[in-house]
């Protein structure tokens, strides 16, 4: 009797506890994005849904989550809700070495002024630093930025300190580079960069060697060889599936072999390379995106695996502008919104093997972007100063980074000034 009474009490208590915890859970939505069109390529969601954020994590993605349970409700009707964008190619190592090029130098930019206003919550610095100066980069930028900053480390020990220094084969040390990744910063360094080399395949081969030791991908900027080295050889003999070719739609045929030939045809081996698993990254930059390469590519079915900016001071005010502008360019060429979102969220998250990013799976960090799709008469420029017209353009309404609102273009998260 006594025991059964105890049992009853304890089961009641347990019930109470459960209902209490359920109650707490139900009331603890910090931000509820209501009625937006969610595009979450990883989870194959493409429709109107609500997104709930609790304790800086995604807590629920479902149709009709009750507003009574939320501390803040944001009306996202007519807007698109996506995972926070991941820009896989930026240069964000600014600093006081005025004679330097990108590493600790004036060509890099501080990330936060460009990311949030374009819906970006994670950037990957593409080899601005090498193993010798990565710690300074981390201290100056990575540890201070609100944007999540990950990095590809340069196979050159001093990173992009100067075009001349980047030729130093003696400073391309696969062992030291891989130590930096495997032993010291596996959470931040997601791959290796090989860039700006004037010689043969030595730099790429060293980078791949380091990539094999550290089990990470290599990104190659392969455009300063006179005459150009064969990209077919690069894709089929030197790189591994999962390695990345950037500046895909660049046109500078004297130094860089193009993906589209002079007759406007995508070279057959390009399709074979993509099938083999070579990742094609846009890496727009100040000199690496031309309509005459990109337009025929898209028309002939050769689409990039990743859409990225190559953000730096020489690209920021030119044809590139920001990631949402670059995505809009691909829409102007005929790709769908879903396709461009996939290539700037879950696509790059997979490439850098950070599968916790670029999606809205329950439990992941609440990095979210909310866009409007403006309709109108827009123009987009490439690096050669030619313009393509478009009728749609992405505009970033709201950006949430780890559950915090870090950008709100039109105040959709705020009360009216004279509200009681």
């Amino acid at each position: 009797m006594f025991v059964s009474k105890l049992r009853l009490i304890s089961s009641l208590l347990i019930c109470l506890l459960f209902s209490f915890s359920h109650h707490v859970h139900a009331q603890s939505i910090d931000i509820l994005l209501k009625g937006g069109h969610v595009i979450d390529p990883k989870n194959k969601i493409d429709g109107v849904m609500d997104v709930a954020i609790t304790d800086n994590k995604i807590s629920q993605v479902a149709a009709s989550i009750p507003v009574t349970n939320a501390k803040k409700v944001i009306d996202a009707k007519g807007l698109y809700v996506t995972p926070g964008l991941l820009d896989m190619h930026v240069h964000v190592y600014p600093g006081n070495d005025l004679d330097a090029y990108i590493a600790n130098g004036p060509t890099s930019v501080a990330p936060d002024g460009f990311t949030f206003r374009a819906g970006v919550t994670t950037v990957v610095d593409a080899g601005s630093s090498g193993w010798r100066n990565f710690r300074q980069f981390k201290e100056q930028t990575i540890d201070k930025a609100q944007t999540r900053v990950l990095a590809l480390i340069n196979i050159v020990g001093w990173g992009m300190v100067g075009r001349f220094e980047e030729q130093d084969v003696a400073d391309m040390n696969p062992v030291m580079t891989s130590h930096m990744i495997k032993t010291l910063f596996p959470d931040i360094i997601v791959g290796i960069k090989a860039a700006h080399y004037w010689g043969d395949f030595t730099q790429v081969d060293r980078a791949v060697e380091a990539g094999k030791i550290a089990n990470v991908p290599v990104m190659v900027d392969f455009g300063e060889h006179e005459p150009p080295n064969s990209i077919e050889s690069l894709f089929m003999q030197h790189l591994r599936p999962g390695d990345i070719f950037t500046h895909t739609y660049s046109y500078g045929p004297t130094k860089r072999e193009t993906v589209v030939d002079e007759n406007g045809k995508v070279k057959p081996f390009i399709f074979a390379a993509q099938k083999r698993g070579i990742i094609f990254d846009v890496g727009h930059g100040g000199g690496a995106f031309s309509w005459r390469q990109a337009v025929p590519s898209i028309q002939q079915g050769f689409k990039p695996d990743v859409i990225s900016t190559d953000l730096h001071t020489q690209s920021m005010n030119g044809g590139m502008k920001d990631l949402s502008n670059v995505m809009s360019k691909f829409m102007a060429m005929g790709m769908s919104l879903q396709e461009v979102v996939a290539r700037s969220t879950w696509g790059p998250a997979n490439v850098i093997n950070r599968k916790e990013l670029g999606n809205l799976t329950v439990g992941s960090d609440a990095d979210v972007a909310v866009f409007s799709l403006r309709k109108g008469d827009f123009g987009f420029i490439d690096i050669r100063g030619t313009r393509l017209k478009g009728t749609q353009k992405l505009e970033t309404e709201l950006t949430i980074r780890a559950g915090k609102i870090v950008w709100d273009l039109n105040g959709i998260s705020t009360p009216a000034w004279d509200a009681k």
Partner: protein, 411 residues
């Protein structure tokens, strides 16, 4: 004979180059736009021609054949490049610091895409580190950077240096202003928590001796607003004009009436800069102030790390707030060009007078449903918003939103 031949060549080449210049005297022609140039009283459909980095002609129907390059700006407003007189752009690698630090912003990141061609740094540097600022930022930016020099020797290098009364040397400030006459336009008193008036008096004396305006910021909690305004001279500038913070009394009282001594100061010619920043602009103060005739003289953004992504965003957004509050676009543009130019006594800027440096902003006004946030996270709605289509700095195109200056891509 030889001599003769040489002369012929010289004369001939002179005639040839003169003919070429005569044939197409302009490098760039902005055609069919609506020019708003408040300094020159122009508010009409006109063309603007540019040559040698200067504005060479503003007139109706300039023949396109006179220009090497023609941009059709029909439907847009063509204005002098905008001027932001309150920014923090002494960017560097020092953590948690404005001077030479990561709390400042590299100007070109934000300015050109907002139609701004000139910014004034508001006392981020002092006489000790101004040369570093000049070398590191001013000399390397596309944006024209002018500066108020802080009365504190090391500028905004953190609390200890800003509170150090022994490092507010009038002589050094005056000397530095004399050494950089084209760049330093005034003196700033900004951050000081003590009761002593030495920093303020010294800043005032330095600006007196240099014959430049004083910029007064808000972080002077022990000085009353009334006392600050009383000590200021006509032409001096107070910033963060519409803030509601504990550090300084608001310009309106609890009943939202503009305080009498504020009105008095306005009448005396004290200039009120907006100074938006992260905390410096509140609708609850700005809206009643505007209704009672206290409009900002300039739209200083107080650009820095913490304002850029908040309610401020950029100067066009701040200007659009005033459109939403009911100010006409002409009045807004006056306060974004000519009035700020005059306030820093740089009447060569902020206008499209023939012969002026060709700093031009081509703006559109978007129609739609927009919202604008203040420093307190409160919103007003509006139906119009400025957007920068094209920015020209010293005759060069430095921003082109929709490729209006580009040629059509042909396969």
């Amino acid at each position: 004979m030889r001599m003769y031949r040489k002369t012929t060549i010289v004369v001939l080449s002179f005639f040839l180059s003169a003919a070429a210049t005569y044939g197409q005297p302009f490098e760039l022609l902005l055609q069919n736009g609506h020019v708003i140039d408040p300094a020159n009283g122009i508010d009409a459909k006109m063309d603007v021609a540019i040559a040698g980095g200067k504005v060479s002609k503003v007139a109706a129907n300039i023949p396109p054949s006179d220009a090497k390059r023609v941009i059709d700006v029909a439907g847009y407003y063509v204005c002098p490049g905008l001027i932001d007189i309150h920014t923090h752009v002494f960017v560097g690698a020092k953590p948690e610091t404005f001077a030479d630090g990561s709390l400042s912003i590299s100007p070109d990141d934000i300015t050109l895409k907002a139609g701004i061609t000139t910014v004034v740094d508001a006392g981020t540097s002092g006489w000790r580190n101004f040369p570093v600022f000049k070398d590191q930022v001013i000399d390397r930016s596309k944006t024209r950077i002018l500066a108020f020099l802080n009365i504190a020797g090391s500028g905004m290098s953190g609390k200890t240096t800003q509170e150090n009364l022994s490092d507010m040397e009038v002589g050094k400030v005056v000397e530095t202003i004399q050494a950089y006459p084209g760049i330093i336009v005034g003196v700033k008193i900004g951050h000081y928590e003590g009761k002593d008036w030495i920093p303020f008096e010294n800043a005032l004396e330095a600006s007196n001796r240099s014959n430049v305006p004083l910029l007064v910021e808000c972080h002077l909690p022990q000085y009353s607003l009334e006392d600050q305004l009383k000590k200021m001279r006509p032409g001096d500038i107070i910033t963060h004009s519409f803030e509601k913070v504990s550090e300084r009394m608001s310009v309106v009282d609890d009943n939202k009436v503009v305080r009498p001594y504020v009105k008095e100061a306005q009448k005396r010619g004290i200039l009120f800069d907006l100074g938006h920043g992260g905390a410096g602009f509140w609708f609850s103060e700005a809206i009643p102030a505007l209704q009672q005739g206290l409009a900002p003289n300039s739209f200083g953004t107080d650009l820095h790390r913490f304002s850029m992504n908040a309610g401020m965003k950029d100067m066009l957004n701040v200007m659009s707030k005033y459109l939403a509050m009911g100010m006409s676009k002409e009045d807004v543009l006056l306060r974004a060009t000519w009035l700020p130019a005059k306030s820093i006594r740089r009447e060569d800027l902020g206008n499209l007078r023939e012969g002026a440096t060709a700093d031009v902003a081509v703006l559109s006004i978007r129609d739609g449903n927009f919202g604008f946030i203040d420093a307190g996270g409160n919103r007003i709605n509006g139906t119009k918003k400025f957007e920068a289509e094209l920015t020209i700095r010293e005759g060069k195109i430095v921003w082109d939103l929709n490729g209006i200056s580009a040629t059509k891509f042909v396969k």
